[in-house]
């Protein structure tokens, strides 16, 4: 399916980033909701990326849904991802996982989308 090892590695990197973003959006929002600071450090998401995601939640969600945007480009730069097009496409394809699953804190994230995510 993949032409080379290099692309395989890149794909993995992107998927890991997508998962990290998912975890992070949970963290960022539970931060706001619980007024608590998470002390967990994430090896992939640096502080700057965390801060950026936490401050740009709605616009990121919108751009991920659309499959492109300046905030995604910015995040890619913060995460040292070179293939931004692939990153954007992968985030879009994983939209449901990023914004829907997990243990319900994401429901808090988006402040009560009770019907769908519980």
């Amino acid at each position: 399916m993949y032409k080379s090892n290099k692309e395989m590695v890149l794909m993995k990197k992107i998927l890991v980033s997508a998962l990290a973003l998912m975890a992070l959006s949970t963290l960022a929002m539970s931060d706001i909701n619980n007024q608590l600071r998470s002390k967990k450090s994430n090896s992939i998401m640096n502080e700057r990326a965390k801060e950026f995601v936490a401050s740009n939640m709605p616009i990121l969600e919108k751009e991920i849904a659309m499959g492109h945007g300046e905030s995604i480009d910015t995040l890619a730069e913060l995460l040292n991802i070179e293939n931004v097009a692939l990153f954007s496409a992968s985030l879009q394809a994983n939209y449901n996982r990023i914004y829907m699953t997990q243990n319900g804190t994401i429901a808090d994230v988006l402040n009560s989308i009770s019907a769908t995510s519980m």
Binding site: N56, A65, G67, H68, S71, T74, E77, Q92, Y95, M100
Partner: protein
């Protein structure tokens, strides 16, 4: 520093008690403070005032200052990683009185490619907008009643504020400042971070302080010399251009411009769907599962719905709960449709190419078949007959407009406007805008012997397309003659502004006075933009006043040359 006194009003900025006015004692006190530091961390004088320390080191060749560790300052510098600077101009959004003249701020660009990771230096009056009436706002603004303060904020926060919430197009003018010059500016900004200055709309305002910073960065430029009496934010951008420090320009479309673009892209069958979705008139599934809607149109519908949703929420048209649930459902549906076409909002006319604020005019013509001459001066800023090139469509803001006429050895005042403003907002699919206009000053429309004082504020609607726009206005007004007369006016107007080199304005007004007088007023003008700052205007005015059976008429035809600088 002006006339030996500093323009900073906060005592914390000075070491000497008389530091604001006495530069010599401030210098001595600064040297004392730096040599006799009492603390050696962030609280030390050197950490609070890095620019002064560097300046003294250079000018007086001092190398034996006490060593201090400035953690906060170093961390900030590391985070900002200043490389270059940009002058940012969020253009006017005239519906709100606080933004009529636009605004300027400086952006410190970091080493990142993404400009969202830059920081904006913001200086703003602390206005509690909801509690401040228009009148209080104007009074306090003119007299220095507001306090201004600086902030250093991530640029994306400023974009949320100007581009998204206030729906102002944002223009970015990259400056050719070197890394070293930017650092110098930043050190100075750091010193001012916690100080306050009195804020004056026209003199020591947001833009004035930006000029200060730019001059500190590069002392060889003299931006403040471009200004004598007032500073309009857009004028600072013009001045920056004249000083040759602007390198390139970037445009960011406001939420409003983005929504208007979607209006263009949506087909006639689909144009109402985004609103229907947001207002819960149709189910999301009715769009997503509708096989007769083209896939790209579906994407546009959902994207426009998201933008309109955010707009509606910002305008408090819906609860947060409703907004969040709709937002999530629509983004989810949009994600399932895959990548679509990028929205491409055409870059509008660059405000840098718009006419300058100060206008002088000379004209000649005939009034009732007798020759008449005209002379005029207006310090600020723009009216609907000026070329709208680079300005927000349908906006007017005039301050102290004076027009004199000369006929039969008589000089008389044609117009003396204290303040006039208009906002003709076109209604469209997403915008249920209303239009308004207001004026206070003297004019000759009442057709008396002399100009009479008029005060008026009216409202109405406007509609338009790319070629032109029309408007309908109802304007209650009063004139002060020997006694006060009140009237209600109704106007219909058309402005054709399709072509950048010319525009056509037509307006017909009917007024009914409480004195049983009635009036017709008609005006038509054809305006040519000869160059950025030169306009040739041909104008026809007709006025008629009826009282009982007598009718008084007046007709004026004139050619006017307007020069802006």
């Amino acid at each position: 520093m002006v006339d030996g006194a500093s323009e900073i009003d906060d005592a914390q900025f000075f070491f000497a008690p008389d530091g604001k006015t006495n530069a010599k004692s401030e210098l001595d006190a600064t040297l004392d403070a730096l040599f006799q530091e009492k603390s050696f961390d962030d609280n030390s004088s050197a950490c609070k005032f890095p620019a002064r320390k560097v300046w003294l080191k250079e000018k007086l060749n001092i190398n034996d200052f006490v060593h201090v560790t400035c953690k906060k300052y170093d961390d900030t510098l590391k985070k900002l990683n200043p490389k270059s600077a940009t002058l940012v101009y969020p253009s006017a959004h005239i519906s709100s009185p606080t933004s009529m003249f636009g605004h300027t701020l400086i952006r410190i660009n970091s080493g990142y490619n993404s400009r969202l990771l830059s920081y904006a230096v913001n200086y703003a009056a602390e206005v509690e907008s909801k509690k401040t009436s228009m009148f209080m706002y104007a009074t306090k603004g003119l007299t220095g009643g507001f306090s201004g303060s600086y902030s250093l904020l991530p640029y994306y926060e400023k974009l949320k504020e100007y581009r998204d919430t206030e729906q102002r197009d944002v223009w970015e003018y990259d400056l050719n400042l070197s890394e070293e010059e930017v650092l110098k500016m930043l050190m100075h900004i750091w010193e001012l971070k916690n100080t306050k200055s009195d804020y004056y709309f026209f003199t020591e305002n947001c833009s004035y302080n930006m000029l200060w910073f730019l001059e500190i960065a590069r002392p060889s430029i003299h931006l403040r010399e471009h200004f004598g009496y007032d500073i309009i934010p857009l004028e600072t951008v013009h001045a920056a251009k004249e000083e040759n420090i602007i390198e390139s320009v970037h445009y960011r479309a406001s939420k409003r411009s983005i929504l208007l673009k979607y209006e263009e892209l949506l087909s006639d069958e689909n144009i109402h769907q985004p609103r229907n979705l947001v207002e819960s008139k149709i189910e999301l599934s009715a769009i997503v599962n509708n096989k007769s809607i083209d896939k790209q149109q579906k994407r546009y519908i959902l994207e426009a719905a998201l933008e309109f949703l955010e707009y509606s929420f910002a305008k408090h048209y819906m609860s947060e709960e409703k907004y969040l649930s709709l937002f999530h459902n629509i983004t989810k549906a949009r994600a399932a449709l895959g990548r679509g076409e990028k929205l491409n909002v055409e870059v509008p006319q660059d405000p840098l190419e718009s006419h300058r604020a100060l206008r002088v005019s000379a004209g000649a013509g005939y009034r009732d078949n007798k020759p008449i001459g005209f002379l005029g001066i207006r310090p600020a800023h723009h009216d609907l007959e000026d070329s709208s090139y680079g300005f927000l469509r349908g906006s007017q803001i005039e301050f102290l407009n004076l027009q004199l006429s000369y006929a039969e050895n008589n000089v008389s005042v044609e117009e003396a406007t204290i303040l006039s403003a208009a906002s003709l907002n076109q209604r469209s699919e997403f915008f249920d805008s209303f239009s308004w206009r207001a004026k206070a000053g003297w004019d000759r429309d009442y057709m008396g012997e002399k100009a009479n004082f008029i005060s008026t504020a009216g409202a109405g609607y406007s509609w338009g397309n790319k070629l032109a726009y029309i408007y309908l206005m109802a304007d209650p007004l009063f004139y002060s003659t020997e006694k006060i007369v009140t009237a209600i006016g109704g106007s219909v107007g058309l402005i054709i502004d399709r072509f950048s080199y010319m525009s056509t304005n037509l307006e017909l007004t009917r007024r009914w006075y409480d004195t049983d007088e009635e009036q017709w007023l008609a005006e038509a003008s054809q305006n040519f933009r000869v160059s950025q700052n030169l306009q040739l205007k041909f104008k026809y005015d007709y006025g008629e006043k009826q009282y009982l059976k007598s009718v008084q008429k007046r007709e004026t035809l004139k050619a006017v040359l307007n020069y802006y600088f």
